[in-house]
């Protein structure tokens, strides 16, 4: 006789741990001081992106005021923000509401 296993569901503790591990966004905000080629260069350096991808995010920052660069755990997102801020970019860590 076939046995139907219950659908796995995350307990509150597991759900909260999951949110902490991958629920933070690294956001770069527009500013009127950092030069566009410099911002592109920094994205390439920090994330290892090719120029095309780095330019796409740079243009998004410039035209829309901000760009979500990556979604990571708290520790990884914090490290990225630290790196970006060491290049004087206006980067912040935001909790992913989505």
């Amino acid at each position: 006789m076939p046995v139907t296993l219950p659908t796995p569901t995350a307990t509150p503790r597991e759900a909260s741990r999951e949110a902490l591990e991958s629920g933070y966004l690294v956001v770069c905000w527009n500013d009127p001081v950092n030069l566009m080629p410099y911002v592109t260069h920094v994205f390439q350096q920090v994330f290892g992106w090719d120029r095309k991808r780095a330019e796409k995010h740079m243009m998004e920052v410039h035209e829309k005021g901000k760009s979500v660069l990556v979604r990571e755990s708290f520790e990884k997102a914090e490290a990225h923000v630290h790196q970006l801020q060491s290049y004087s970019l206006q980067a912040t860590l935001e909790k992913d509401a989505g």
Binding site: Y38, H41, E78, V81, H82, Q85, S86, S88
Partner: protein
């Protein structure tokens, strides 16, 4: 500013004597213009540990100061920044090249912050005091050096082209 040698992990850049002096002047600004610790988030307060945010901000500012000192020492090292006819040959590895870019841009941002973070692109202006004139001049100078250095980092000497 001209890229003379580009090898894996090593670059030699020719600096005009004027550019070398400008770099030293721009880097010297860090002692006059303190950087403002950057915010770690613009989100809802309390979602991030406050002590982590304060430590991160202080670390960024302290890191820039350490990098400024190291870069000034490099520019003053006669074996790494060799004086020649009309200029200098600056030899850097990857870390030093990146650090120089970061501190030059950091000086530009420090000037901008000291001016009150104006949005010049949208026509905002600052009061015409001597200090502000000096800051605007240094900000533009730092920007020109950042652009020149970026070109050297991303460019080629031309030797490897067909």
């Amino acid at each position: 500013m001209k890229l003379l040698v580009s090898e894996p992990g090593r670059r030699v850049v020719q600096l005009a004597a004027r550019e070398w002096q400008q770099m030293r002047a721009v880097l010297g600004l860090f002692q006059q213009v303190a950087r403002r610790p950057p915010p770690i988030t613009r989100g809802v307060a309390g979602e991030l540990p406050a002590d982590a945010a304060a430590m991160l901000a202080a670390d960024v500012v302290a890191g820039l100061e350490a990098e400024r000192s190291a870069t000034l020492a490099l520019l003053d090292d006669p074996e790494r920044c060799v004086k020649g006819k009309g200029g200098y040959g600056l030899q850097v590895d990857e870390v030093e090249a990146d650090r120089l870019l970061r501190v030059l841009n950091g000086a530009r941002v420090a000037c901008w912050e000291a001016l009150g973070s104006p949005n010049f692109e949208s026509g905002e202006r600052v009061e015409g005091t001597d200090r502000n004139r000096m800051l605007v001049t240094m900000m533009e100078l730092a920007g020109a050096l950042v652009s020149g250095w970026l070109t050297c980092l991303e460019g080629t000497t031309g030797a490897e082209e067909p």
